[in-house]
């Protein structure tokens, strides 16, 4: 009796083959999972290191200061010109009567941030009736005190190697014991511009600068990119010059961004004499950089619209322009917007081209329009990362967290748009 032919798929040999096959598949899946794990670890390390270094950047150390607006030191006619340093010193001397000599008074002044003097001044400028009265204010502490309070200064280090001397540390400990030191949320971080003092520096200016810049980028690159893509994809004859344009666009998308910065410098600044450091110029430069991305994603979105829809429209007598305007473009819109948003997110994170067009300046004022001098989020990060002060380390990481937050939000919006509005067939 001969064995039936189907036995080749049963029996121990077949079982062994099957086991080997499954073992191979398991190994393959494990490798994929491992790769994912590596990527996840890197992400966790990146986010973890940024957050652990940057979270305290959102906090600020404040101290309670009781000052007397003595009429000797401040003139009711021009309260702005009062001797506020003296007012603050006298207030602190109430706290620490032992500090009488010049060096001790200078040390007292060192406790308070420049922003503290401004706060003391603003209080009386806002309300001149305070002259002659004693007021209690919470004012920002100096950067070194901020660092000490946040634990970034090693108290055990020898005094000559420490940013804060023993005397100051003793004062701070006394203030702390009296409940006159507190840590608050640093709202100013989001509303103010750059500053030489880390405790006063904010990213408000950089956020506004980035906003104006992205607005210009979007207004320029989106309509131009979409129109160019529609022409290339839908109307352009399949000729040699169209192929050449296509290759060039794909190449442009891979050009290093610094090259676009050089182009912006040459064209917008040197040739057209637009204002230096302005978001307008930054936006135009980034628009050049984003344009190829938008053209490519738009063409992909247009290609993704099934030919059956075009045929249906043509079949009832729609003209080629109507086919595109009534059917193809609306159907491609969610994916097209997604592409545009991702392009914008790229532009938001770009710093190299902005260095070339002078947006890397130290700018304290908030830009009120696209023509004001401004900086941008990534450039602000670059500037702070370059600063020697200890206080800017946490600001750098905090600014990175804000930038990442914006990027996450933008990409989230892109995903939402795609899922919410994309038509499926």
């Amino acid at each position: 009796m001969t064995e039936p032919t189907f036995a080749i798929h049963s029996g121990p040999a077949a079982q062994a083959r099957l086991r080997r096959r499954y073992a191979r598949e398991r190994r393959f899946k494990l490798m994929c999972l491992g790769a994912l794990g590596v990527a996840a670890i890197f992400l966790v390390v990146l986010i973890g290191s940024i957050v652990s270094r940057g979270w305290s950047g959102f906090l600020v150390t404040q101290m309670e200061l009781t000052v007397t607006y003595s009429p000797d030191l401040i003139d009711a006619d021009s309260p702005r010109d009062g001797n506020f340093r003296m007012i603050v010193v006298e207030g602190l001397q109430q706290e620490f009567p032992e500090a009488t000599d010049r060096s001790a008074m200078r040390a007292l002044l060192g406790l308070v941030s420049n922003g503290g003097f401004i706060a003391v001044r603003n209080a009386v400028v806002d309300d001149p009736m305070l002259i002659g009265q004693t007021v209690t204010l919470w004012v920002p502490a100096a950067s070194d005190i901020d660092m000490l309070n946040k634990g970034y200064i090693d108290r055990a280090a020898p005094e000559e190697l420490r940013r804060v001397d023993d005397q100051t540390m003793a004062w701070i400990d006394r203030l702390e014991a009296d409940g006159k030191i507190r840590t608050g949320f640093n709202w100013n971080f989001f509303t103010t511009g750059d500053s030489r003092e880390p405790e006063l520096a904010g990213i408000g200016g950089a956020i506004l600068g980035s906003f104006w810049m992205l607005l210009v980028t979007f207004l320029v690159s989106f309509p131009t990119g979409v129109a160019a893509a529609v022409f290339l994809e839908e109307f352009a004859p399949k000729r040699r010059w169209v192929d050449i344009i296509e290759v060039n666009i794909n190449n442009l998308a891979a050009v290093p961004s610094i090259v676009f910065g050089l182009l912006g410098l040459a064209v917008f600044l040197n040739l057209m004499h637009l204002p230096r450091s302005a978001p307008l110029v930054g936006g135009l430069t980034l628009a050049l950089m984003t344009l190829p991305t938008i053209i490519i994603t738009t063409r992909a979105a247009l290609k993704g619209v099934p030919p059956s829809i075009r045929e249906a429209a043509m079949g009832v007598g729609a003209s080629p322009v109507q086919v595109v305007a009534h059917h193809v473009l609306p159907l491609a819109l969610p994916r097209l917007l997604t592409g545009a948003i991702i392009g914008m997110a790229q532009a938001l994170g770009e710093s190299a081209p902005l260095l070339m067009i002078g947006m890397v300046a130290f700018i304290v004022d908030l830009p009120s329009g696209p023509l004001d001098a401004a900086t941008a989020l990534p450039v602000q990060i670059f500037l702070w990362a370059d600063s020697p002060e200890r206080g800017f380390v946490e600001k750098t990481s905090a600014a990175i967290m804000v930038l990442l937050g914006f990027l996450v939000v933008m990409n989230g919006v892109a995903v939402f748009l795609r899922q919410r509005f994309e038509v499926r067939w």
Binding site: E311, M314, G317, S319, W425
Partner: protein, 283 residues
């Protein structure tokens, strides 16, 4: 030199094909007016010849069925009737196609108007991803057939009624057309075509994606539409051709092998190739 060789090879192919494809003088008497006419229609996709000089008369207000194995050129020929293959890269066309005696490939013909007169229903139901109403209203809107909302409502209703869909959808005209069943979608596509008031309706295997019940409904519909429209239908389903058409044309390898009254073609085919095909011996 090479080019000349190719040209002569193509010429030889074509002349060889011409010898088999039905010459104009051997076309059957239709016993009624002719709506569309093709004479010596040749078509190339780049270098590949897909149609080898087709001669065919399409009778008015009747159903003409095109049958033949895959790749025989029947869909290509159908697309020539309303110039749907204009947009395909590398297509070259020779010969004449006339609608009411006027050449549709003439320079003066606006292809948008031609497609309004010669509508098309496709193999796969392809409603626009819009509401049922908007699907039917789209054609009348772009051609400016309705001056006000009431007119448009009227066109939509009568089109859906003629497509036998009105009772099923009258309460949900605002719903997405893509949510309907395949058979309903295809009848909606027919309603969309009718809404433009075409004279000829081309159907490219309209039932190939439908189940038998939906197919039966569409076939009934085709039978009713014959009173008002000239219909040309491409089908792989020979029973369907026999059921719905009055004239049947058999294509093979880009040539028209036989054309005659449907009953004649199926019961008494004139060509052995036709006989082999309809009896399932090849194809």
């Amino acid at each position: 030199m090479v080019a000349v060789t190719q040209a002569t090879a193509r010429e030889r192919d074509a002349s060889h094909a011409d010898a088999i494809t039905i010459p104009a003088e051997r076309l059957p008497e239709l016993g009624g007016p002719v709506k569309m006419k093709a004479r010596g229609l040749k078509l190339w996709y780049s270098d590949k010849q897909a149609l080898a000089g087709i001669n065919l008369d399409v009778p008015e207000r009747k159903v003409t069925a095109f049958i033949g194995p895959s790749g025989c050129g029947k869909t290509t020929f159908l697309q020539c009737l309303n110039r749907m293959n204009d947009t395909i890269e590398g297509v070259r066309i020779e010969g004449d196609v006339t609608l009411d005696g006027a050449d549709v490939y003439d320079r003066s013909v606006d292809v948008v108007q031609l497609r309004a007169r010669v509508g098309m229903v496709f193999q796969k139901p392809n409603p626009f991803p819009k509401s049922i109403y908007d699907n039917v209203a789209y054609g009348p809107r772009i051609h400016g057939l309705a001056t006000n909302r009431g007119d448009l409502d009227g066109i939509v209703e009568s089109s859906l009624q003629r497509a036998g869909l009105w009772n099923e959808v009258k309460d949900r005209l605002g719903e997405m057309a893509t949510g309907m069943s395949g058979g309903q979608q295809q009848r909606l596509c027919i309603a969309r075509t009718i809404a433009v008031s075409p004279e000829v309706i081309l159907m490219d295997e309209p039932c190939s994606a439908l189940d038998p019940i939906s197919t039966a409904r569409v076939e009934e519909l085709i039978d009713e539409l014959r009173d008002n429209y000239t219909i040309v239908i491409v089908t792989h389903n020979l029973q369907q051709a026999a059921r719905v058409s009055q004239l049947t044309a058999f294509f093979h390898l880009g040539r028209l092998i036989e054309v005659n009254d449907t009953a004649e073609v199926f019961q008494n085919p004139g060509e052995s190739m036709t006989k082999d095909y309809i009896t399932g011996r090849f194809g």
